[in-house]
Each structure stands twice: as C-alpha cells, then as structure tokens.
Symmetry: C2
Subunit: 336 residues, 2 copies
C-alpha cells in the first residue's frame, strides 16, 4: 500500500426510504465522518439527489485537502438497472420510477459515482470485513431481513450482478403457491413470510383472532407492534410470540433451500434488523434446512455455530446497520 | 486450430440408471462411433465401472491409431462430490453410495478422466452447440425435465460447480410447504411437480378419481401411463390431460422465479425428454412467470419465441438426448 493510499478516503451513501446516511471512511475502513438526513421522498428524486450531492460535497470539502479521494459509492433500494442506477418502480421510493441516479449525481458532483443495490452493498461489506472473514472459500450469499428481504451474492470473490443488475433478489423466491400478494407484483414471495413486515402482520392477525392475549396487549400499548417488542415477548416465554419466530425460521429455511441446492456455496449470511432475533428463528431455520435441503444435509457442519471448511455454513451477519454504508464506500475501490 | 487438433477425438460417457451410452466425437463434435449397453446397477458400481472402461477402451482402440486423443468425460446422475465423482446416496443408482467413479475409471484406463453431474454435462453441450448459440450473453441456466429434474448453470462462460460440485440441483428448489415427499429426502421439491414422474403420478390419481375417463382408458391400455401418450391425449383435446400439463407449467414457472430473481441471467433453457411437450406446458409456464417473477416482467422479451438482448430468454433445448453424451465428451476439452 502506497503512502498516499494510506492517507486516502472514500465516501459511501446509503439511500433508505426514510433516512439518507453519508459517511467518509479511510483506507482501513475506519469511519472519518458521518451525516444523516431525512430522505425527502415526496419532494421527488431530483431533490433527493441534490441532498445526496450536497452531503457528499460537504465531506469532500472536509477530507479532500488532507487525503487522496478514492471515489463515492451509493447503495440504493431496488429494483435498479445497473450500472445506470435506473429505478424500476421501486416500492419504497414512490415517484422514482425511471430516474437515473448515477447520471444525476455525476452531473451534480462532476465526478464518477458507482451505484449499487443496497442489499449487494451490504453483502460486499459483510464479505470483506464481516462474516465473510470467518469462513474459508470465495463465495457467499446474503439475505437481509428488514422491512423487506434483500440480498446479495458474491461468486469467486466478486459481486454477482446478473444481466441487468437485478441478481440477488432473494426475497422474491416464490415459496407458497397462490400465497400472499407481494409488493413486487407476485405472490407467495419469501419476503411475505420472513421480513419484519411479515411477522408484524402475522402478529396483528393473531391478536385479532383473540387467541393471543399477550400479543393483543402489546398491540394495545404500541399501536403498531415492533418486531423488537415481539422478540422481547417471545424471550419472556410467550408461546404465541415464540411460534411466530419459529414459523418465520421455517420459511427462511425453505427459501435458503433454493439458494443452497442451486448455488452450493460455502457461506450464507443472514443480516438486516431482524437478525437480532436470530436466537428465536435460527432453531427452526436449521431444522427446516435439515428436513428440506439435501445439499445442506450432505455438507452440514458438525456444529452450526462453528464455521467449517467444505461445509455449508449459515451464520448471522456481524456488521449490523454499518454494512450498507460501509459497502457503499467500498464500491469505488473494488478494482483497486 | 492445429492440424493434429483437426484430426483429434474425445470420448463421452453418459451413465444412466437404465442405459450406459458411450461415443467418440471429432473436434467439430461430429459423432464418430457410438455404443449403448445396459447399466448393470444390481451388479454393483465396480461392475458398471468395468463396463464403462471396456467400452471406452474399445473406442480408443478404434480411433487412437488415427487421431490425437483429447480425453474422456463422464456425465453421471448425482448427487456427486466433485472432482472425485463420489456418490452420495444417488436415488437412481442404489448401492453406489460412497463409490468414487473417477478413481475407479482412471485406475482401469490408466488415463485421466473428468466426471461431472449429468445435468451439467447436458448444460455444457446446450451452451456451446445448442440453445446457448441463439442468445447473446455469457451465462445460462438449464432445467432438465426427465424422470427427475436436473440442471446446470453456466456463469461467465463456465460451468458453476459450487463448493463440492453440487450446484445446479434446480430440481430441489422447495416450492410447496409440507408438499409431496421427494427422493432427496425433502418435501415439496420442484421435481415432484414438474417431472415425467410427477405428471404420471398426477394422471394416475386423476384416473383413479373416476373423473377422467380418457386418462383411465389410457391407463387400462398401457398399464403405466407414458408422458408421451398423455401428451398425445392432451393434443387430441382431452381437457383433463391438458390441465395436467398446464399445472406442470405453472409449477415450472414458480421454480424458474427463484432462479430468475436470484441469478438474473439472459438465458434459461428447458431440456430433457418432457420438453417434447413444450407446446402443452409453455403457455402456463410463461403466464406463471409474468404473474410471479418481477425480474422476468421487467426484462420480458417482446416475443417469448424470439431471443432478444437484455431480455430474460426462456427457450426449449435444441440438442435432445444427444446433449448429455456430447457434453460429457466436451468435459476434457474445456480448457483447450
């Protein structure tokens, strides 16, 4: 590594449906500075792109005088056509259909910008600095359980983007014939059974049925039931709440079966906010895999909690909410 | 291409649960000679390996005096651990569990042998000489609908084998929660809904129900209903027979949804014996994809029958039963 590289930085932007987060990282991926602002979705894509460019310019002004600038990367909700970063009816960014994010930012910044799907940016960070460091091998698949289910696939050390940059839409594996309608326009997608939204909906239904008094009390207190409160209730021993997480784990195992039997990778990683409930859904997820997935059965690690070579390892993500931002900042440095 | 390469040959072996086929091909992939013998499964793996080696030796004796020998490749039913070609409880080759095919053949032939899963060998041939030639792009995924459902994935021009050579087990995508039990030990696998075996079982059930007189007559005449006879009945206008193929197409579209949304490739190919019923299952397969698969919807070719660039193309295989044998012979030449 050259002396100037040691004193270099890159900027990552994590565009969310609610918040816009921007950070500068040094060459060792230590955070140098951080900004968060609301995503003004209603103001339209041009306004949001202007906010992003403004934040990037401010970080550039702070660090460029002292360090070599390596580039700026953006992780954005999909579906996106790449490398243009052109939106295709994004469910969480209404009004953004057809907008080309890269061109807008490059024109505002007069610099090259790399745009990537947010799930893939997070997968890149987990691959390089998180769960990927724990397991031998050079491929990985990640599922991100949040409001929806996103993901990313790393094959032979590189992000797999697919023909038009839409690869890794792991949340839209069809699991249930004529199942629940999904935001993507399909039915029965994994996202409808293994996201925070999915477990909240299931909890609501259970509360309305009258058969789950503790969940009904939670709803009366909170209005919308947060997945975290539901997890706390499950950990306190409430059987109905425990069942909801067990059911989610079962569906997750079913979705992973498609990925493991078709890709046969050494490592699968579960990330996103819901991963904090790993203790609650993991047992039924592993049970579902042992029951359904023969490539998993044939290459099962002796102890699922201990990564092993030549085994199908399935572990929780380790970088938390930092992954998306960090992965975005890594995007312009992939070929360095 | 050198003069000696022009006058070269390679040998392909297609190990089936019923027949063992062996052929020599020249450098242009024209068939030079062909042998078929029964697979003596009951005699055990050593006897079958000896039969294979005997047939290969006979073709070597015929062609090696006149041509440069490029190598021998074997396509075998899975699950196989690669590159050893070690069987893991193969459902169609009882008694072969743990047998290492490559070592047995190399010891008998005193030459290097390449072993590959049969679905992947067929995918390689379709990629190089079949459907793969019709579509721009360098990746493809194939599903082979026969007794079971096999497959193979080509990424960036190369077979994707996965960590232990079990990638491409596309028949074991889990489609139906608590669905039909599968030979792999799982439940609800695509193979149980979109194979020749699956449609035969569904036909039998329908015949027994009393509500499908024409199918019941077919069963009385044939004993076991062949998928071909069922297709002929459907083409003659029998509604119940037509429904069986439409249902198969629907499940196939559901399985393809997982592959298309996660891999985003330019080309998906349906092969295997059942592809002769393409006219009967394709309409509901495409309908199911349009309904379920948003990456397909966003990159749908204007006319599904005409391959287009930057579209998700889904076409029938073109090489027929030759694909497995040809792909096996291509295996030793992949790095040439």
């Amino acid at each position: 590594m050259s002396a100037s590289r040691d004193a270099s930085f890159s900027i990552g932007v994590d565009l969310g449906g609610t918040n816009l987060r921007v950070a500068a990282f040094d060459s060792e991926w230590k955070r140098l500075s951080y900004m968060a602002l609301p995503t003004r979705v209603a103001a339209g894509p041009e306004a949001v792109a202007a906010d992003m460019a403004g934040a990037v310019r401010s970080l550039l002004g702070e660090h460029a005088p002292k360090r070599e600038f390596r580039g700026v990367g953006v992780g954005s909700p999909g579906p996106l056509e790449l490398p243009a970063g052109k939106f295709h009816q994004p469910p969480n960014l209404p009004g953004f259909d057809g907008f080309e994010l890269r061109a807008a930012l490059e024109s505002a910044l007069q610099r090259p910008v790399v745009v990537e799907c947010d799930g893939r940016a997070a997968a890149l960070a987990e691959w390089k600095l998180g769960a990927g460091r724990l397991v031998p091998g050079d491929s990985m698949c990640m599922l991100t359980l949040g409001t929806g289910v996103g993901g990313g696939i790393v094959l032979d050390g590189k992000l797999w983007r697919g023909m038009t940059g839409m690869a890794g839409e792991n949340g839209h594996i069809a699991l249930v014939p004529d199942g629940l309608p999904c935001g993507c326009g399909g039915r029965g997608c994994l996202e409808q059974y293994a996201s925070a939204t999915a477990i909240q909906r299931a909890a609501k239904k259970l509360a309305a049925s009258g058969g789950a008094p503790a969940i009904a009390r939670l709803q009366a207190e909170e209005g919308e039931i947060a997945a975290k409160s539901l997890a706390a209730l499950a950990r306190s021993g409430d059987l109905q709440a425990r069942d909801l997480f067990a059911e989610l784990g079962g569906f997750l195992g079913m979705g992973l079966t498609a990925l493991i039997n078709t890709l046969n990778l050494p490592l699968y990683v579960i990330g996103g906010g819901l991963v904090s409930a790993w203790d609650l859904f993991a047992p039924s997820m592993f049970e579902s895999l042992r029951r359904l997935c023969y490539v998993y059965r044939l290459s099962q690690p002796a102890d699922p909690a201990r990564p092993a070579p030549r085994a199908t390892n399935l572990v929780p993500a380790v970088l938390g909410s930092e992954a998306g931002l960090l992965g975005a900042a890594m995007l312009p440095c992939q070929n360095d």
